[in-house]
């Protein structure tokens, strides 16, 4: 009636990196008294991936074969519903990822479990689990508890927890047969990779990134010129791509590219989680934003509260 259940995530036969972060977080909770760590893998690849999650501190790996090879949200939901009922874990950890967003809220709502998404910190104490998440568009941090909930589902933000390492000697692997036939409610048709674009921004050492500080398509040309003058490659946050002002190949973030340039100069970008997911590991981040509370200043090494166009004009003059 206790313990931490980690829902490992895989795609196209490969374990996703967030899975190791979940195990790292689970291990920390376990050390604080939350009970043993189990990792569940659901799907056709489950068996093959088990050794990769059988890490130090993991008591057992549960392998749940699924009727179809691809992830299917309702199948995962049904499998976890059954596992939660059987094992009553105190905490269920999954990633704040696209796949989890498809099943975890439904799982928690149907079974009346505790729930928090986009979690950046978790701890275990006398009252059970406590969690931290952003509030008001990341400008504040909320501390949460889960009174009266025997099982709490937490979706952990990718990148917020240190990944586990170290092969486990004692980890058991158990095959759990669940009746999942008929639980799928969507039909997988195909996976499509994004089209390869005109540039590969992941290869650039110096990126000038623009965001919704740009409110008119006509402003893009002068920023292209700025990037040229500075010897940088232009990239953007998602809204400029959604608007069709800049090509999808230049989008940085969770649903775009992950970049690690030497310098990332962010102009008029607020620093939403999904943007940070693509650039937080740049070596030097410089941010210019007119709002001194913009979350981007939390990850930047250098920041300036200013109008991006005034700074851009000055920069172009200096680099020309």
């Amino acid at each position: 009636m206790s313990g931490v259940l980690v829902v490992a995530e895989a795609r196209r036969g490969e374990l996703r990196a967030v899975s190791l972060e979940l195990i790292g977080a689970a291990r920390a909770l376990s050390e604080q008294g939350a009970g043993p760590v189990s990792v569940v893998l659901i799907g056709a690849d489950a068996e093959a991936l088990a050794p990769q999650v059988a890490l130090a501190g993991v008591q057992d790996v549960l392998v749940v074969p699924a009727p179809q090879p691809q992830f299917e949200a309702h199948v995962t939901q049904a499998a976890l519903e059954a596992l939660v009922q059987r094992r009553s874990p105190s905490v269920v950890l999954a990633g704040h990822t696209i796949d989890s967003l498809g099943f975890a809220p439904a799982l928690a709502a149907r079974a009346g479990l505790g729930f928090a998404s986009n979690v950046t910190g978790a701890s275990w104490g006398e009252q059970g689990v406590l969690a931290q998440r952003g509030a008001y568009g990341e400008k504040l941090i909320a501390e949460l508890d889960f009174p009266g909930k025997d099982t709490v589902v937490l979706l952990l933000r990718p990148g917020a927890f240190a990944p586990a390492e170290g092969v486990g000697g004692e980890t058991g692997v158990e095959r759990v047969e669940l009746d999942l036939a008929g639980s799928a409610r969507t039909e997988h048709l195909e996976l499509r990779d994004p089209p390869t674009g005109d540039v590969d921004i992941t290869k650039a050492d110096f990126l000038v990134a623009i965001g919704r500080g740009v409110d008119d398509e006509g402003q893009i040309a002068e920023l292209e010129q700025l990037a040229d003058a500075m010897g940088a490659t232009l990239c953007a946050s998602r809204p400029l791509v959604d608007a069709g002002w800049i090509s999808a190949a230049r989008q940085v973030g969770q649903s775009g590219k992950t970049v690690t340039p030497k310098v990332y100069l962010a102009l008029g970008i607020s620093g939403a989680v999904q943007h940070l997911a693509g650039m937080a590991k740049a070596q030097t981040i410089i941010a210019v934003n007119s709002d001194h509370e913009a979350p981007i200043f939390g990850v930047a090494q250098y920041g300036a509260v200013a109008d991006m166009f005034e700074v851009a004009a000055e920069l172009e003059r200096q680099f020309r």
Binding site: R110, H188, L191, A304
Partner: protein, 259 residues
């Protein structure tokens, strides 16, 4: 077809806000807007029903502040709007809101529910799929394309890195809609005037057969406190006007590039 579109009016904090002494957000530090994602889900609903007889019903769980934005949904083309409120709902989390929306959906019996992927203030990304769970509806999260052929939808689910999964799903179902799926329309001045004649029902919990306790029991979490993020680890701020800032940036860029 009848499409239910849950929309949220979100709070965006002023540039110069500060937490009050009791660690709450002062009312005058907040600006109210229609959640960005919900402009796309509303547009998707309007497009799906174009040239067909059907109904698009916008619903929000929100106080009077939300009414103006709900009217804007009517001006853009929604046929009807519903606002549900009770003071006990202030600060309610995604699961509690979903339980209220579930009662509305049970009364309305839509064939399709279109939520946004997330709300820009809470970033829970949970209300839609929680609602589907409560209603036992098929659901797909993070949708960037919808095509309909009779009772069958083909949808695009956007994964990390821009990879897209194509899926088939049958009505009735719930989708959470991602930005960029369409170009949300603006309302014409005429439409804004006409919107005031469209029905906007206001209801409390009782009319839906709910009460504060039953909604509260659905909550997934409780907020213990709000705090400001630690600023110490943040950026070194560059002072001065644009010329000084540009000079400093140029120097930092040159140094970092040659390191």
């Amino acid at each position: 077809m009848k499409i239910l579109v849950p929309v949220k009016v979100v709070a965006s904090l002023d540039e110069d806000f500060a937490l009050s002494d009791d660690a709450t957000v002062p009312a005058d530090a907040v600006e109210w807007q229609l959640n960005e994602w919900d402009t796309f889900s509303l547009e998707a609903a309007l497009q799906l029903n174009e040239g067909e007889d059907g109904e698009v019903v916008a619903v929000t769980v929100g106080d009077e502040q939300a009414e103006q934005q709900l009217r804007s949904c009517l001006a853009k083309g929604a046929d009807r709007a519903i606002r549900v409120w009770d003071d006990s709902l202030r600060g309610a989390d995604a699961l509690a809101i979903a339980s209220v929306l579930a009662a509305v959906a049970r009364a309305e019996q839509p064939e399709l529910i279109l939520c946004g992927v997330q709300s820009s203030d809470a970033v829970e990304s949970a209300t839609g799929v929680a609602l589907a769970g409560l209603l036992d509806l098929a659901h797909v999260a993070v949708v960037t394309g919808i095509e309909r052929a009779g009772e069958r939808l083909t949808v695009q689910r956007e994964l990390e890195g821009g990879v897209v999964e194509l899926l088939g799903v049958s009505l009735p179902c719930l989708l959470t809609v991602q930005t960029g799926i369409n170009e949300p329309r603006y309302a014409s001045l005429r439409a804004i005037k006409q919107a005031s004649a469209k029905p906007l029902d206001v209801s409390g919990l009782e009319q839906l057969g709910l009460d504060a306790a039953s909604v509260g029991a659905h909550a997934g979490s409780r907020t213990l406190r709000l705090k400001e993020p630690a600023k110490g680890a943040g950026a070194t701020m560059l002072d001065g006007g644009p010329p000084e800032i540009a000079t400093r940036i140029a120097a930092i860029v040159r140094e970092s590039m040659s390191a």
